[in-house]
Amino acid sequence: MQEMMKKRALQLLQDGTVERVLAWKTGEFSYDITPAVFESAEEIEKDFVYDAFCAANLSKYLVALSKKEGKTLAFLKPCDSYSFQQLMKEHRVDRDNVYIIGIACDGKADADKIKDSGIKGIKNIADNGDKLVVETIYSESTELDKKDFLAERCLNCKSRKVVIYDEMIGENGEVLDSNRFDMVEKIEAMTSEERFEFWQNELSRCIRCNACRNVCPACTCEKCVFDNDASGIANKAAANSFEENMFHIIRAFHVAGRCTDCGECSRVCPQHIPLHLLNRKFIKDMNEFYGEYQAGEDLETRPPLVNFTMDDVEPSIVNEKGGKE
C-alpha cells in the first residue's frame, strides 16, 4: 500500500498535477505518526509513511491547503472522506483545488492498547499486514495480531466506503452495520444519578488542553468562544464541575448535525475521555427523532439542526424517551 501511494504521489508531483502532497510521516516513534505536507520528491522518498498508525484525519488541513495556489494531493481514508465532504457541504474547502486519492481501509491500530497490554520499553512497532511486530529497548521482539489492537473507532466503524475521490488505491469498501450506539444505550440504561457520576468521573479529568477542539474537522470557525476571554469559559483548566460540563456540552452541541463520527476527539484526548459518546448521543437522538442522517454522506441532505417539520417531537419527549430516572 505504502509503495503504491508513494509512487502515485511522486508521479502527480512530477507531472505537475499537484504542487504538494498531504499525507503522514513518522513522529518521535514509529507508532507516533503525524500529518505532513510534502513539497518535493526528496521529502517524499525520505519521510512518506503509510501504515496501521496513520489514524490522523487529514481533511481539516485542507481548509487551509485548498486555499493555496496550486492543487494539493490528499490521501483520504473512508472516515476522512466523510469529514472532507462535510467540509465541502459547509463551503470550507475548495474541492477544485484538491486531488483526492481514496485509500481502502482495514482499520487502524491503537498504540495505547499495545502499551496497556503490558509490554514495557517499546522502541518500534512495525506493521506487517495482519501482524504487528513490537521491538523493545530490551531487544525483545513480540508479534501481535493486529485485529486485537484495533482502535475503538475502527471496531465500531460506520463505513469503509470512501465517499469522494478522484481515484482509489485498493478496493473501495461498503457502509457497515456497526454497533456504535451500544455504549450510548448502556449509559442511557443507568439511573440519572449513575449517569451523573459516570460523566463527572470522565469529565473531571479534562485538563482543557483543547486538543479535541483543535483536531475536530467540524470545528473550523475562525473565531471560537473557547478563545474568547469574555466568554467566561476560555480559562484553561476548568475551575469546577460546571465549567467542565459547560465546555463539553457546548463543544458537542456545536458539532451536532455536522459531526461525521470520525472519532478524532477521543483519539487525541490525553486524558482518555470518551468524547465521541457525547457526539454519538446527539447522532442517535437525531436519527430517532428526525430520521436517519449521516453527516458527510452527501452534499444535498439538509442537516437536522437547520431543518424542521411541522410535526416534530416536543422537547418533553425526553420524559418518555430519555434515560432511566
Binding site: F196, N245, M246, I249, I250, F253, F289, T309, D312
Partner: protein, 146 residues
C-alpha cells in the same frame, strides 16, 4: 444556638418571546392571576434567539429551573423560529438528561398572547416541580452562589 432551616425558594428563569409569551405573561398580570415571584422573566425577540448556552448560563448564575416559552408552532412572528428552537431544545434537554442532570429542571411551553391563564398555570406547575427536585446541585457554579 439553633440552625435555622430555611424554606427552599427556587430561582426560576423563564425566557419568553416578545410576541406571544411575554404578552401572555403581561395578560396574566393584568388579569391578576397569581404565579410565584420566584420566576424571573427574560424577554427575548423570539424563542429561536435562545442559544443552548443561555440555558446553561442561567443554571450557572443560580437558576434551579429554566423554562423557554414561545409562540405556538405555526404562530411565530418570524414564521419558523420556534420550529428550530424546538429541535435545538429537544436535543439539549436530552443531552442534559444523558449527563445525569434532572430532566424536570428544563421545559419548553408554547404560550400565546391570549393565554394569560396558561402562563400562570404553567409557571405554578413548574415551580412546584422545581421545589420537589430541590436545589440545583448538579449544574451549579459555586462561585456564583450568594
Amino acid at each position: 444556638m439553633q440552625i435555622e432551616k430555611k424554606e427552599f425558594k427556587p430561582t426560576i428563569v423563564a425566557f419568553c418571546c416578545n410576541w406571544c409569551s411575554y404578552a401572555g405573561a403581561d395578560l396574566a398580570g393584568t388579569n391578576r392571576l397569581n404565579y410565584p415571584a420566584d420566576v424571573k422573566i427574560i424577554r427575548v425577540p423570539c424563542s429561536c434567539r435562545v442559544n443552548p448556552m443561555f440555558i446553561l448560563r442561567a443554571f450557572q448564575r443560580g437558576a434551579d429551573g429554566v423554562i423557554l416559552c414561545g409562540c405556538h408552532p405555526g404562530d411565530c412572528h418570524y414564521t419558523t423560529g420556534n420550529y428550530y428552537a424546538r429541535r435545538r431544545m429537544t436535543l439539549l434537554f436530552s443531552m442534559l438528561d444523558f449527563l445525569g442532570i434532572e430532566r424536570g429542571r428544563t421545559r419548553v411551553e408554547w404560550v400565546s398572547a391570549a393565554e394569560g391563564a396558561k402562563f400562570a398555570q404553567t409557571m405554578n406547575e413548574f415551580v412546584e416541580t422545581i421545589i420537589s427536585l430541590g436545589e440545583n446541585k448538579r449544574l451549579e457554579d459555586l462561585r456564583c452562589k450568594k
